[in-house]
Structures are given as structure tokens and as C-alpha cells.
């Protein structure tokens, strides 16, 4: 039996927005680790961002729903813990979309490079934790706007 190519499935997955940060897609986030076929079952391997992230089960449901809409009937989602998710896996496009959305993208230095609103480098941390497990709260000392920073892990 013929089935869509894995490239085709990747394309479909690429259009699923992250439920918490809809500006980026699941593939931008780098949490889809593998797509493959075993017989007529499509296997999608997903890694969680944070072990307690409440979006994880929703993400799985959205993957399944999207693939079903494209006519796939047998879908299996595998959870992969290792290697643990890292923000290094976020795509360049994803980083740009985050910044345009007002969330400073993760930096290896451990803090945002600049304010996503005005571009000033004069920023300071308010709290290591933010509105979702993956974000921290920062503030710009020039435009005085608080903003989210996508933590680098």
C-alpha cells in the first residue's frame, strides 16, 4: 500500500502552530525528532520541551488531528526523552518569528541579546520564570517594556 512520503508528513507537521506560542510551529520549536513509516503506520517521534509542560498532551493531540485531516489513519506517537530537548534545535526561522512576535529568542549567553520591542541592549532580568515553563521575564531599560525571553536550555 502506498503512503505519503515522510517529506510530505514533515510539511504537514510544519503547519501546526505551537499551542502556547502560536507564532511558531512544532517543527520550528524542534520537538519533532523523527518521522517514519512502519508498514502502514506513521510514526512521529516527539520530545517534550519541559517534563511538566502542560502543552505536551495537547501537542500530541494536534499532531494526530492534523495528520488525520490529511487522510492518515494509523498514527503512532513516540515520546523520546534523550537526547533532551535543547533550544539549539529551534530553527532560524522560528527564532525570527519569535522575535517578531515580541519574545526574545534564546541565546547561548543565557539572556536576551536585545529588547524585541525597541532593539535596545539595556535589558535586565525580572524573573527566571514566565507565563510558560519555557520563558523568563525580562524588562527593557530604554523603552521600559517588560518582555518574555525564551529560556536557553
Amino acid at each position: 500500500m502506498s503512503h505519503p512520503s515522510t517529506d510530505q508528513v514533515w510539511d504537514w507537521l510544519d503547519s501546526i502552530p505551537d499551542p502556547e506560542i502560536p507564532a511558531i510551529t512544532l517543527t520550528d520549536l524542534g520537538i519533532i525528532r523523527d518521522v517514519g513509516w512502519e508498514g502502514d503506520t506513521c510514526i512521529v517521534t516527539v520530545t517534550p520541551t519541559y517534563s511538566g509542560c502542560p502543552a505536551t498532551s495537547l501537542i500530541n493531540m494536534e499532531i494526530e488531528t492534523a495528520l488525520r485531516e490529511h487522510g492518515l489513519e494509523r498514527i503512532e506517537l513516540k515520546r523520546q526523552l534523550s537526547p533532551a530537548w535543547t533550544t539549539d534545535w529551534m530553527s532560524q526561522r522560528g527564532r525570527e518569528k519569535l522575535e517578531a512576535y515580541g519574545i526574545a529568542p534564546p541565546q547561548p549567553a543565557g539572556g536576551p541579546e536585545k529588547c524585541p520591542q525597541c532593539g535596545s541592549a539595556r535589558v535586565e532580568k525580572l524573573s527566571q520564570f514566565g507565563s510558560t515553563p519555557c520563558k523568563a521575564q525580562w524588562r527593557c531599560n530604554d523603552c521600559l517594556e517588560p518582555f518574555d525571553y525564551f529560556k536557553c536550555i
Binding site: 511538566g52 526523552l81 534523550s82 530537548w85 525580572l126 527566571q128 521575564q137 536550555i153
Partner: protein, 255 residues
């Protein structure tokens, strides 16, 4: 414990029950913390701990082989079946006491998880790899807050010193060991808790000194340990009545 249980099952319960009970305690702050940022930070920390719990207890259920899920283990066991240390079941006290407990546990958790990434059990190593990243930033925050409050105002200093006096003896239980630890460490499944003690002691004492706090001379005073379930404080039962009532009253309810 009526008969000798599988030591790996016991070891996994210890990991999962510590994070479960602490996660539940910390979540009690939700909506009550002194400032919004701390409220969010505590809720996020609780969430990470509960996420780790899910991974540990899910595996514990598989190792046990009786078909129990993580939820079954969390919601349908009674106090004597819990394997957490007493430190995590103590009431929150004030904000300072909550943060002090978090710090003492976070350092242990990070050291333990980092060592667990080398476990001979691949599943345990994988879970630890994920959780260690989270524990690292938990320590960063609780350490900074302990220093800030310890070396803070007269009142914050007094409260942090009081918290340390209460919690220091309980923290020593993290390094009390038994035959489960010996067997699992021997098999390379977990690090022997005693092998973590020096690193914990050195790191924690340095931070407490920076926080201008005085480490009390005290040892763990209870005759039994929560690690084998022979000893729990009266507080654990109260947590369970809150945590488990829905599954007890309406068995099988799902989110």
C-alpha cells in the same frame, strides 16, 4: 512493607514521591505568593516537579509489573506506601521556609540527577538527563533567593535563620541509606546517596555562608525514615486527603 519489594521499584518510588510531594506542597502557594513573579516561579517549579514525578512513577509502575499507572501510584496509595523524605512533606511555613526547603532539596536533586544520567538503566538515565536541566535552573533561583533573603533585612535574615534551624536536620535524611540504596548503587542504577553528601555539604555551606546564615549543629532526629515508609509525619496524611480525594470519591475520573 510486608515482604522485600523489588529494589528498583523502591528506588523509583523514592525519586517520584519526593518530587510528587514537594511539587504538591509548592503548588499550595499558587495565588498566595508575596509577589506575582514569585507566584509564577513557584507554580512553574511545582509543574516541573510534577512532570518529573510522572516520568518516575510511570516507570515505577512498569517495573512493578502489576499494571499500575503513574496516576494509580500517585492517587491510590496510602501514607505508609509513600517513600519520600520527611523534608518534602513538612508544611510550607512562611515564604522563607518554603524557599529554604526548596534550596536544600534542589541542590540534592541536581547532584542526584546529574549522577543518574550515568545510570546503567537507560530509561533512568534518559529521565535524569531531561530533569537535570530543570533542576539546574531551580537551584539558580532558590540559591539566589536564599542569599538575597538571608543577607537581607533584619527580619528576612531572622526568618531564613529560623527556617534553616527547622529544616537542616530534615535535610540530613537525604543521606540516610539502607539496603535498597546499597543494592541499587552496587548495580550502578543509582548513585549511593552518601557519595553525594560531600558535594552537597560543600556547596550548601558556601551558599549559606554567603547568605550570612549559621548552619546549626543538628542531626536527623527521627527513629525511622520516610524512604522506606516506616516513618512519616502526620502532615503526609493531610496532603493525601487533599491530593487524592477526587480519585477516591470518584474512581477513574480523568481530566
Amino acid at each position: 512493607m510486608t515482604k522485600a519489594a523489588d529494589p528498583k521499584f523502591e528506588a523509583l518510588l523514592r525519586l517520584g514521591d519526593n518530587t510528587l510531594i514537594l511539587g504538591h506542597r509548592v503548588s499550595e502557594w499558587c495565588g498566595h505568593a508575596p509577589v506575582l513573579e514569585e507566584d509564577i516561579a513557584l507554580a512553574n517549579t511545582a509543574l516541573d516537579l510534577l512532570g518529573q514525578t510522572n516520568l518516575w512513577l510511570e516507570y515505577a509502575g512498569e517495573v512493578e509489573g502489576k499494571g499500575r499507572s503513574a496516576d494509580d501510584l500517585a492517587f491510590l496509595r496510602d501514607a505508609w506506601d509513600f517513600r519520600n523524605v520527611l523534608l518534602v512533606e513538612l508544611p510550607n511555613g512562611d515564604f522563607g521556609q518554603t524557599i529554604m526547603r526548596q534550596y536544600l532539596f534542589d541542590v540534592f536533586n541536581r547532584l542526584n540527577l546529574t549522577a543518574l544520567t550515568q545510570s546503567t538503566d537507560q530509561r533512568i538515565a534518559d529521565i535524569a538527563e531531561k530533569a537535570a536541566k530543570e533542576a539546574s535552573y531551580h537551584v539558580e533561583r532558590s540559591e539566589g533567593t536564599v542569599i538575597g533573603l538571608g543577607d537581607g533585612t533584619e527580619e528576612s535574615h531572622r526568618r531564613m535563620q529560623d527556617a534553616l534551624n527547622i529544616l537542616w536536620p530534615y535535610a540530613q535524611e537525604l543521606f540516610i541509606t539502607d539496603e535498597v540504596d546499597d543494592a541499587m548503587a552496587e548495580a550502578g542504577v543509582i548513585p549511593h546517596p552518601k557519595s553525594l553528601q560531600d558535594a552537597w555539604d560543600t556547596e550548601v555551606r558556601a551558599v549559606l555562608a554567603e547568605a550570612t546564615l549559621e548552619v546549626p549543629v543538628a542531626h536527623f532526629g527521627h527513629r525511622g525514615s520516610g524512604k522506606d515508609g516506616k516513618m512519616h509525619t502526620e502532615h503526609l496524611g493531610h496532603i493525601l486527603t487533599q491530593m487524592q480525594w477526587l480519585q477516591r470519591a470518584y474512581p477513574g475520573q480523568a481530566w
